[in-house]
């Protein structure tokens, strides 16, 4: 199970592909359940990169917990939340946004 992630070109903020656009939180990212869907996300990422919307485009492993997408690797968990030592910063600073 994978989702597409990148950093927005203009401000570098981590974003995830969801519902036809780039969301600032991972919770409702579009999930690829098979190779065909992964290829589709990859093509979207390549196009967005070529179109100078985002940089550092990657497919990452995720799971679904309580109806929300969560990255599997610690690195991606931290990207999705913010620094673990500054919970007042990053996405976690506005917890309601994570589920939004």
């Amino acid at each position: 199970m994978k989702v597409l992630t990148a950093n927005r070109l203009s401000d570098g903020i981590a974003v995830w592909y969801a519902d036809g656009g780039w969301a600032e939180t991972v919770g409702h990212a579009d999930i690829a359940h098979d190779k065909t869907a992964e290829d589709r996300l990859e093509a979207i990422g390549a196009a967005a990169y070529a179109n100078n919307e985002v940089v550092d485009v990657n497919l990452i492993d995720v799971e679904v917990v309580d109806g929300l997408v969560e990255p599997v690797r610690l690195r991606e968990k931290i990207r999705a939340a913010g620094p673990t030592i500054r919970t007042d910063l990053g996405k976690q600073a506005a917890p309601e946004a994570i589920g939004a």
């Binding site: 070109l9 401000d11 903020i13 940089v55 599997v72 990207r79 673990t84 030592i85 500054r86």
Partner: protein, 556 residues
């Protein structure tokens, strides 16, 4: 301190204009990321986990209060209210928008600062002893030479596309506080028997995945030959350094693979071609740069002794701070002060916007407007009258920066680790915080004595773990963070690389393991004067292995 001349100022302004244009073109989609990446890196802009990161150069760690105030302003206006001082004596901001970077660079240029060559395969910020110009044990101030190297290496056309990055450090004292033997070139400023200034030259030190202690290739290089000799070294490296494998591209690998004798021969041969040509430094030029670093007019303040004595009696915490964070100055009425950015449980090296501004005020009022960033991620007031120490202490205490832990176990060097860094494999900062909290008692820290603990969140070793008396390296193993411990490293005049003590520890175990190592040391040291590193060198790893792993062997 050094002031930009017309050339410097024009150059920095031109670079701001050039990079601003490149940013605009990138944002407009006129250049691709592949085209832009090397340009942004040359201007200190990285992409990290959460956002872009901007690394700003602080040449040889020297700042004035106006500059520090500007860094505070940038933290507040463009970032999230704080900055991170680094082991290259620089500062990093963790959250700037790419679209704001032209404005940040323009603000920096207004106080003679920039972010040029803080990344990329070029000669990086030249570092120096943070007590330069103040230290009682100094032969001469190393910063004029660092400045000469800065001018020579800035956009040097021949050395802008090296096989890999290149770091130079300079010290002017026998006691090495600049870790010169862990650098690509380490320079020890000294005097020969005739009283002339020159350098012992070390080459091929470095950390990362292949740590190496630099080799001394010359015991005395006359000061006039500084640039011709460095050019010779860089030329040999540029020609023969490996470009096929980024992990083998540093000069340390070239020195190691070629052999010290042969590489010295090559460098000396190259130097013969250069030494009497235009790179020879004219005495007048050295003097002109030296004049910029003229020490402040330190008037006698003999009342300091009595004031300090009385203040010690009045305040135990002041007295402890004095013992730990204040060092002898070459002028007996003055002292150099370490402002610890390692408050118990805080993030090593971080300072808030208002702390930066308050420290700038203190420097202006009590320290001749001079500040330093140390490679140990602290700030330094190099010249404070002993008579003003209590006032400085009180002002620092007010902003939470009077922690009396310089050189103690909680004075930890830590890289940003996986909390920020795109390359990291494990977190560093939470481990530093937990260890600092475990050893929060100053009494206990002082009982342990000098202990350099350094943490890196990946093999690139930005947290200098290889040269920590105790080093911690965080790696990812089977999806979890694992912390490997090295013992016996050191980054002073007796530089050594630490040895891996055994299997790694989970994040839950690592602080207990460190405590066990410290308790083992306390149990075996010959006296409180025998520092951890000295005891380790005397007894070796065996007692520490026994303490950490004996139970496992028996159980197995």
């Amino acid at each position: 301190m050094y002031r930009y001349d017309e050339f410097d100022q024009d150059f920095v302004h031109a670079r701001v204009a050039e990079f601003s244009d490149q940013v605009q073109r990138r944002l407009a989609g006129e250049i691709t990321e592949d085209q832009f990446r090397p340009l942004r890196l040359m201007n200190g802009v990285y992409l990290q986990l959460h956002a872009y990161m901007l690394r700003i150069a602080v040449p040889y760690g020297t700042l004035n209060s106006k500059q520090l105030r500007m860094l505070g302003h940038i933290a507040r206006k463009y970032d999230k209210g704080y900055g991170h001082f680094t082991t290259r004596q620089n500062i990093q901001f963790n959250w700037p928008a790419l679209s704001d970077i032209p404005a940040i660079l323009a603000d920096l240029a207004s106080v003679e600062m920039h972010a040029i060559q803080t990344s990329g395969n070029c000669i990086r910020n030249v570092t120096a002893d943070h007590f330069a110009g103040a230290a009682a044990d100094e032969v001469a101030d190393p910063r004029p030479y660092a400045e000469i190297l800065r001018q020579w290496s800035s956009v040097h056309p021949e050395f802008s596309f090296l096989p890999r990055k290149f770091k130079i450090a300079v010290t002017g004292a026998e006691r090495d506080r600049a870790a010169i033997q862990t650098h690509d070139i380490g320079l020890h400023l000294k005097k020969n028997a005739a009283g002339e200034l020159g350098f012992a030259v070390y080459v091929g030190g470095g950390q990362g995945r292949t740590p190496m202690v630099a080799k001394k290739i010359r015991d005395f290089l006359p000061e006039a030959d500084l640039l011709s000799y460095c050019t010779a070294i860089l030329r040999v490296y540029n020609l023969y350094g490996r470009r096929d494998n980024k992990y083998k591209a540093r000069i340390k690998i070239l020195v190691h693979e070629t052999g010290v004798e042969e590489i010295t021969r090559q460098i000396e041969a190259e130097w013969q071609e250069l030494k009497d040509a235009e790179l020879k430094l004219p005495e007048a030029d050295i003097q002109a740069i030296n004049a910029y670093f003229a020490p402040p007019a330190l008037t006698d303040r003999p009342e300091g002794d009595a004031l300090v004595k009385q203040a010690r009696l009045d305040s135990k915490s002041f007295s402890e701070w004095l013992d730990q964070n204040v060092v002898t100055h070459r002028h007996p009425d003055y002292a150099a002060v370490t402002i610890s950015l390692k408050g118990i449980g805080e993030v090593p090296g971080d300072a808030t916007d208002s702390q930066m501004e308050a420290v700038a005020d203190i420097a202006e009022k009590y320290a001749f407007d001079e500040l330093r960033v140390s490679h140990e991620q602290n700030l330094i007031l190099p010249h404070v009258a002993r008579a003003d120490l209590k006032a400085v202490y009180d002002a620092l205490a007010e902003i939470g920066l009077a922690t009396a832990n310089s050189n103690l176990i909680s004075d930890i060097i830590s890289c940003p680790g996986l909390d920020y860094c795109a390359l990291a494999t494990a977190r560093s900062i939470p481990i530093a915080q937990e260890i600092s909290q475990r050893f929060a008692s100053l009494e206990r820290q002082r009982e342990i004595g000098e202990l350099k603990l350094k943490i890196s969140g990946c093999i690139n070793a930005c947290g200098h773990h290889h040269v920590g008396h105790i080093g911690i390296l965080g790696v990812e193993k089977k999806g979890s963070e694992l912390y490997q411990v090295t013992l016996g490293g050191s980054a002073d005049e007796n530089t050594s690389v630490g040895e891996i003590i055994g299997r790694g520890f989970s994040s839950d175990e690592i602080t207990d393991a460190i405590e066990q190592i410290v308790d083992t040391y306390l149990g075996l040291r010959l006296s409180p004067d025998e520092r951890f590193i000295d005891a380790y060198r005397r007894v070796g790893p065996a007692p520490f292995k026994e303490a950490l792993y004996a139970g496992e062997t028996k159980a197995a």
